[in-house]
Symmetry: C2
């Protein structure tokens, strides 16, 4: 079971993280506020990464891109410092992967930061609409699967689409589609309902990332595009230097989930 610490606001959480007082995951922290995936790349790869996101908007919905060298996410969280405000980062450098709690000492003027939508956002919408979210009920991470659907490549960035799965009772599937359609900037409507084999997913009990969850009798697996997709594309690009958030250790913004709803 995840243990959730309460913070009175996203800025209070970010301050606690910045001071080293919170290094856990952000799952369940500051419910109702948008959390974002972070990708930091050298400027020379920034056009193609942004283009990869533009070509694959469902798995890679861009919430904010910072100018080269900037570290404040002015729109999502004024006063923030993306070099210090996430509890854990993954550093890809010289063929190694390292986890660190602060990236200030690695900062360079040519680094461009991308903040990308995360399905944590629409889950509160699903719950409010009375749709069960199994991995939350079971205190687990959402199960994620690598599919047989290639993303549209851009420059060095390429790879399969990764999806997250939530089991939904048949009578609630329309509502699940409707609710998540309102949030295109955090993956939007499902990309696939039922029949995991057509996605190249042979065993729902063995996710490629996250934890398996219980699928009850009659429930249908529903698949959404997942923010792990750009991470896989980033790894496939074999860049000499890149930084991402560590899984589950997201950037918590000042924006409310409802601010991202389109209608």
């Amino acid at each position: 079971m995840l243990r959730v610490k309460k913070f009175k606001s996203p800025s209070a959480l970010r301050e606690a993280i910045r001071k080293g007082k919170w290094q856990g995951t952000t799952a369940g922290c500051c419910p109702g506020y948008v959390q974002a995936n972070l990708m930091v790349l050298p400027y020379k790869h920034a056009f193609h990464f942004l283009l990869f996101c533009q070509r694959n908007p469902k798995p890679c919905p861009v919430l904010e891109v910072l100018e080269p060298g900037e570290w404040e996410a002015k729109h999502l969280a004024p006063g923030s410092d993306i070099r210090k405000d996430l509890p854990k980062y993954r550093l890809f450098w010289k063929g190694r992967v390292e986890e660190v709690n602060d990236i200030s000492h690695l900062w360079r003027d040519d680094l461009v930061s991308f903040l990308i939508g995360c399905s944590f956002t629409f889950e509160s919408g699903l719950l409010k609409a009375g749709i069960p979210v199994r991995h939350i009920e079971e205190g687990k991470n959402v199960p994620m699967y690598i599919t047989n659907m290639p993303c549209e490549p851009a420059g060095p960035f390429h790879g399969p689409m990764v999806v997250s799965m939530r089991p939904v009772p048949p009578k609630l599937i329309s509502k699940a589609v409707q609710v998540t359609s309102r949030f295109p900037s955090v993956h939007g409507a499902p990309i696939h309902v039922g029949s995991p084999d057509l996605l190249g997913v042979s065993n729902l009990d063995k996710p490629d990332f996250g934890d398996p969850v219980t699928i009850r009798d009659g429930e249908i697996p529903v698949f959404w595009a997942c923010g792990v997709t750009p991470q896989v594309a980033l790894l496939n690009a074999g860049l000499e230097f890149a930084i991402t958030h560590a899984p589950g250790h997201m950037f918590v913004t000042d924006i409310l989930d409802e601010d991202l709803a389109v209608f």
Copy 2:
């Protein structure tokens, strides 16, 4: 009045253009098919231009971006050549503006082409829904106005939002919002209804681009974000080299308007 020549398909139109047999505007050509704005820039400015579009998605909805040096719009029009398939281009070079019918001889390996949505697309939706489109009725170009709303800048790209205006009877305004909401990739829902003065527009009879149209008694001016916005930002950036379509001389794609509808 615009005279519209009929072509049996977008590819037949593009072939006629490529062979020099059609150099007129594309207004009214191939109804039902998506037409796009073209912007061609050197690679070194491509990240910031794409970022400008990402930050200002209503006026700058990106339909396709070609890799550096490429001239085929593989998604929108397989087999096309954006260097030859538009009837007229505007060339910004050495502080001069020139109009040309073909840009093949100017092509360079570092040029990146952006195809951006155009409100021609949602106008067929408005007409089908029984909403009058005055400039079409009057055989004119749509009236466009420079507003007092600044776009979010990105690198050298900056400037005001430009809007197009269509007068709508009060009882049809909801429907006009609903119909155009379905087309976020071609500017989407209106950004403003009524009260032009709040946009900094003092005289609807004197548009900054296009032609004035009749506003009948009781009709309300409705404003949509306009694809001229990125052109203004491009000019403001003062690049040493850039190419766009000439106004009204668009890239006609093989995609149906309805293919861009979201629900």
